[in-house]
Amino acid sequence: MIHHRDSFLTNVAAQLGRSRNTSVKPERNWKFRPQDKTLSGKTPDELMTVLRDQCRLIHTELIETTSDKLETVLESTVNLYGGGPISLWRDPRFDEFGLGELIRETWPARSVEVNEWDSFRGKANIAEAERANIGITFSDMTLAESGTVVLFSSSDKGRSVSLLPHKYIAIIPKSTIVPRMTQAAQEISRRVQSGETIPSCINFITGPSNSADIEMNLVVGVHGPVKAAYIVVEDR
């Protein structure tokens, strides 16, 4: 339902001194496009350096590894963060990157509670994420300039996993790294223009939550996770 749109838009147009236009798409003839030049032409390794430097500024631990060592690295990062309970997306990439055994066998065998997002169980997913010590997701796109992981929500990829647990780990396939928000915005816009339904929630996450509301002192960890780590993995 849309209420009171006609009178509202007629008034807006009248104030602008013309009749209402809701059908002719305005031309966007920008004179400037500074975003295209920022970090353009960098090689993947150069972007990796940018990301590495940025993570120092956003209180985020960055770990680089190869796909054959990923399982060990993830296991030790989880241990470092105090173990389970763990909350995860239901994401085929966990298996593609060889983490299936760790998630389904190794951790449960050691009594580490692991909860995979399962939309059929509805609200229980939120309660599990709330109880979790660590939330783990993959990054769908990664922005080198700002040190940001972009997460596209879906029925298998709940918003709560990167939000409610005390700590957060993002696994970043190296191929997802792009220069900056510009490339992610272009990709989302391309999907919109081609008629795709974009996710109901797209999160750009840059490190742990923080606040400077008390005397401008930076406090890391407010409503979202209090610690964050990124594990960058060379693609298989």
Partner: protein
Amino acid sequence: MAMKIGEGKFKDNVNENMQDTFMRGAVAGAQERLRTRRLDAAEELGNWEEWRSHGEEIRKHVLDNLDYYLHELTENVQKRGGHVFFAETAEDANAYVREVVNSKNGKKIVKAKSMVTEEIGLNQILEEEGCEVIETDLGEYILQLDEHDPPSHIVTPALHKNKEQIRDVFAKKLDYKLTSKPEELALHAREKLRQEFLTADIGITGCNFAVAESGSISLVTNEGNARLVSALPKTQITVMGMERIVPTFEELDVLVSLLTRSAVGQKLTSYITALSGPRQEGDADGPEEFHLVIVDNGRSKILGTEFQSVLQCIRCAACINVCPVYRHIGGHSYNSIYPGPIGAVLTPLLGGYDDFKDLPYASTLCAACTDACPVKIPLHELLHKHRQVIVEKEGRAPISEKLAMKAFGLGAASNPIYGAGSKMASAMMKPFTKNDRISNGPGPLKAWTEIREFPAPNKERFRDWFKDHEKGGSGQ
């Protein structure tokens, strides 16, 4: 609380706040840090002026085509299963939100920081309905606990409070027993508020920018509270000023990049969240119902006028962080939830000159605000325009200014009086002069010199010096 935050007169507010030494120290310190961080972030980008120019052209384009983009936005919100309400006035907006809340039998409401809901006084309306309304931004939460103390800055609302005051508020209201360390205070707020998020019926957010092409709204935060507000309650209501819109995600990128750098010197804040409608089928979190309320409340009257560019504002507070007047008088002196240069321009436009005619005079016209603005709003020129309108069209210049101008007009219009006056000025002002400055002037000068110094008249008049100079004298 609506836009106007008190009944005091501007001058009385200033006098009172100038005595608050903690506030003045806090504001000065915050300005230094935020200003430096913004400059560093801008310098790092290299071509900051080009970014500003692009930001400006995007905002201008959207305002010039606002009817088109509002139409496109709301079509797409509807396609995504959301509801839209266009509100001409604050009352209309509040009535709609109240209706939605009541229809959901909503009792507990969690809110993410939103200036427009402050502007329309939404909390009070909902509290009168018997709802519990909880602000979840840490700064706003502190203010709400402290008997609804008004915000003094649009990005860091509790800037005027020190940590000891905050500890005392927590002790009194939350039975808090720990120290005034910011980490401990924040952790306590986290634990208290987490329970509220999990049990709230309704989430209310503002909107940094809506994206027309997809019907999305975006929220820019560091704490993560806006994510919780939009992920957990069953119903989400988003309230936005009608001008806060971009055509596509490409422009969202540019404006967010300008906003986070200008506000806090960050490349991006911890969370930028783009939400499109309610949860999709199969989603296990996110709201089941989504309402977008688009507020005019006086904005359309600014469109098409010489003040239109003020609607380019992206609420970063960069102008506030460089303003020498704000630095001394603090946010509360402005009597508006919108303080500083942007507030001094916007508040009289939205709230009228009756209550806010003093604000355009709360500026030295130094133009630091204009230089800082990431979307190039000519703030000091707009302040000057306000003064012109107040004097010429409204005929209500401050009385002391009227008297001084009248006296000057009288003196300057008659050659003998001007000559005698300028000859006597130096001698007459001598008792008030110290180091060539007058700091406690008499008569019409009093109002001026109460707040700043006036240069003493030169001992030698220009005309005498010129005569002497023509004759070949040394002349100084």
